[in-house]
Symmetry: C2
Subunit: 339 residues, 2 copies
């Protein structure tokens, strides 16, 4: 009963060799485009391949070649954030494009439970991939430890403190400072912040940039924290903030999604943006275009981060020692209508 559809065994090099009347070595040479295959052998092999329906067994190739031509992109996020975060998708596409160009396969692995963690660690240790890109690792992440143990070439997107490994990222702190200075230059004097994800470098650094910019004028009462970069979190935080400080005339939300939620809350409460209160976000994701008025924000080159990370792993795989320090990509301030 339990026979399974595709019962007929897959054809091997051996089969091809036999039907073509040559040796396995010759078939292999043909397959790998090496010299020294006679025209006669060549056509015989081509026919044989078509006849038996051959395609190479990668496990065998990997075993003998000791490489897989694949790179993992590991994302460690709780459910909802994984779905909401626009950067992850863009990073993934960027990495995929760059790897694809080099004929590498991107395999995207999700870590969503403790069970996933150990399985992914095994996957890495098992040599399924030649390298790894790690997104949104946190401090003391088990995946991070696994990677160090297994010694697979890895590049991090973002910069978990204390990590000594190549990484690519943006200057969250500096670009936030720049953004806030721009906001202050428009005449806003009572500026609040919706902070989030403080357990990650992105969240913590954006808060640091905010306090940098405000200097003496920084008032901790004007900072409302919410755990994650979510629309709802932004709306709730905005309400809380406005209750505490009704005289607010500016808000920096640590992500566009938070900013969109904040704007919704403001409008529901009858405050006009930007007339009554200026709102700025961070990411320049699709959110920034969906709000009305359109959001002023910092452009995060998510796709570029993916591409840079891919380039870095490829370099590491090739054995070039890339920059030990991190690579920082540009993050221009994009000024629209919300402030």
């Amino acid at each position: 009963m339990s026979q399974g559809g595709q019962s007929r065994k897959r054809a091997t090099v051996h089969d091809v060799a036999r039907t073509a009347g040559v040796s396995r070595g010759t078939v292999s040479r043909f397959l790998n485009g090496e010299r020294y295959v006679s025209a006669a052998a060549r056509s015989a092999i081509e026919q044989a391949i078509a006849e038996v329906g051959y395609s190479p067994n990668t496990a065998a190739q990997n075993l003998v070649r000791q490489r897989t031509q694949a790179v993992a992109l590991i994302v460690h996020e709780p459910h909802h954030l994984f779905l909401e975060d626009p950067n992850i998708g863009a990073i993934t596409l960027g990495a995929n494009a760059a790897l694809s160009e080099a004929d590498y396969q991107l395999v995207f692995l999700i870590v969503d439970s403790a069970r996933d963690t150990s399985r992914v660690a095994r996957y890495l240790a098992g040599g399924f991939v030649d390298g790894a890109i790690v997104v949104s690792a946190r401090v003391d992440d088990p995946i991070t430890r696994a990677i160090e143990r297994v010694q697979v070439p890895a590049v991090f997107v973002g910069h978990p403190p204390g990590l000594t490994a190549p990484w690519v990222g943006i200057d969250n702190r500096g670009s936030t400072r720049e953004l806030i200075e721009r906001l202050m230059a428009t005449g806003r004097s009572r500026i609040g912040m919706i902070a989030a994800a403080l357990d990650r470098d992105s969240g913590a650094d954006r808060l640091a940039g905010f306090t940098d910019a405000l200097g003496d004028r920084f008032d901790p009462v004007l900072v409302e924290e919410t755990p994650l970069y979510t629309f709802r979190g932004g709306a709730d935080a905005m309400r809380a903030l406005l209750e505490r400080a009704p005289d607010l005339d500016g808000v920096f939300a640590a992500s566009d999604s938070l900013a969109a939620g904040a704007m919704q809350a403001l409008q529901d409460m009858g405050r006009r943006v930007p007339e009554d209160i200026g709102v700025v976000g961070f990411d320049d994701s699709a959110w920034a275009h969906r709000t009305s008025p359109a959001l002023s924000t910092v452009h995060q080159p998510a796709r570029g981060l993916g591409e840079a990370a891919a380039a870095a792993v490829l370099a590491a795989i090739a054995g070039e020692d890339g920059p030990t320090s991190g690579v920082l990509l540009d993050t221009p301030v994009v000024w629209r209508d919300s402030a």
Copy 2:
């Protein structure tokens, strides 16, 4: 110079056997938790493993076991849609959870270019995975053909017409009909539709459901088409529709993202929702909560689809012939405030 970091060769079973003073067979038995390993051997091996830092080479295991304990989830979408579509993420998480439970690794593969197509086909043919889940395949998709050729157990999410393969999905047509009937029951008589993605079963079937529900009253002038399920597409289509038919009192957008765009456009044009015009969407994604008023829509069990698809591939891998026909999941209408 180009030495590459982790130069020291990885330890093998052989190394473990030697340092433990036993044979490879014994080590293998130990590793696989079989009987007949003496306590002495056991502890010697355990020590040896720790000492040499052994972890199994998966390529070798795959080769001899003829399976990989991995399943691919293949998504074939253009950039922007991949980023916008909330269902893909939820399907992925559902599949990951179900596979993880069975100790299978999900590998997510993106097809984003012609180059990707052939590489992914090779990946599949190469036996990197024991099965595949295919999301958003289209008619005559090269990936679909590759899967058929390679004979790897596969399950489709959605139902590309003409495909004879197991699939899981929802009744787009029936649930749309139900939704529209509900909308009509609220007294709307001049109902338009924003259709999209007509080259896919989801898009085409939702249009069919719409015409089903309207019957004689169906007026092709009231259908505006836009290529993809995007916010912007919804806004543009809404404007076009309203220009053609200013007397519209209801709109069905083929996805929540389209509906959100449409609502934005309506509000920009000074129409009140739901007073002047009732709006309904499809998906019950996060969009539905972000609009104000909250969107009436059809609940798409995206996570459940992922889980069901995973269960189906696992069954196929195990050699059980699952249902030849497709599996349909429930799609309740969720009535909120936009209509």
